[in-house]
Amino acid sequence: MSSPREAVANGAAGAAMLAAGLGCFALGVLAVAGDGSKALARLLTFYRPTGPLSGVSTMAIVVWLAAWIAGNRLWRGRTVAIGKVSGAAFVLLALGLLLTFPPCEDLLLGK
């Protein structure tokens, strides 16, 4: 018999948290990649006056929304281990934050 806590569907919230973590991580990875490769920076320049930031932010938003839509379809109405899911989302967020911090970025790129 499931406890009342287990009966509550929290999958949609888990999908939203994980997608936000993924979006932040993607932002960090793309920021480092754009800074480390001139070819990638050119590719990420969707709007010339803004430069590579236009592509970095747009692609991170695309990753975030795609992950949210996919996760929502998969987990909506279900009960997930929300502690583990939010923990994973926090790790992704923390990595994203670290990657956007210029000294960490320079360390990774050997600058």
């Binding site: 936000a20 960090g28 967020l93 956007t100």
Partner: protein
């Protein structure tokens, strides 16, 4: 008493959109704390809930307005290339900062950090607002969810705070200026 068009738009980006977004983030943190710290059933009326929803939606709109106006309106003015032969860098804040080793860090650390970390704040707060609205009943499990998203809300508040603080200092060191001059008071009183 005059202002330039770029100064007005920069103030709207930073002080109106960014500033109010940060204040709203703090408000959301208070709402989250109250909902997961409360005992028993929530006392919020239907009208109160509707107002909370409007508050959360306005907060999210402000966050996105701040990053979009920053990236697509103010940032191009900040990073504009200096035409050949131009020696006065007043209209080129990035170049002005980089021209002096004492101010270069405001670009290489301040702006490089701000331009990326700022995007995390509206992304996270959109998720936080959505979870708060989707799971607004303060049942035991929903209270746990709200406690979890408060961590993300705090991260968003800090990310937005870093962006705002860096932006304010950068604009003090090398202000974004130029464009049409708007006179507010001709006689100087």
């Amino acid at each position: 008493m005059q202002l330039t068009w770029r100064e007005i738009v920069t103030a709207i980006h930073g002080m109106l959109f960014g500033g109010f977004f940060l204040m709203a983030c703090f408000g959301a943190l208070v709402l989250l704390h109250r909902s997961f710290a409360a005992r028993g059933s929530s006392e919020v009326t239907e009208q109160g809930r509707r107002r909370e929803r409007i508050f959360l939606i306005v907060m999210v709109v402000l966050g996105w307005a701040a990053v979009l106006s920053g990236a697509y309106v103010v940032y191009p003015w900040y990073r504009a290339a200096v035409p050949p032969g131009v020696t006065n860098l007043e209209l080129y804040p990035q170049r002005l900062l980089m021209s002096d080793p004492h101010t270069a860090g405001w670009h290489t650390l301040g702006m490089e950090w701000k331009e990326h970390v700022a995007w995390m704040a509206p992304m996270l707060m959109t998720m936080v607002a959505w979870v708060m609205m989707e799971y607004e009943d303060a049942g035991e499990e929903h209270r746990r969810l709200r406690a979890m998203v408060s961590g993300f809300a705090l991260a968003a508040f800090l990310a937005g705070g870093v962006a705002a603080e860096c932006g304010a200092w950068i604009n003090k060191k090398a202000p974004v200026t130029g464009g049409r001059v708007i006179t507010l008071n001709r006689d100087g009183k």
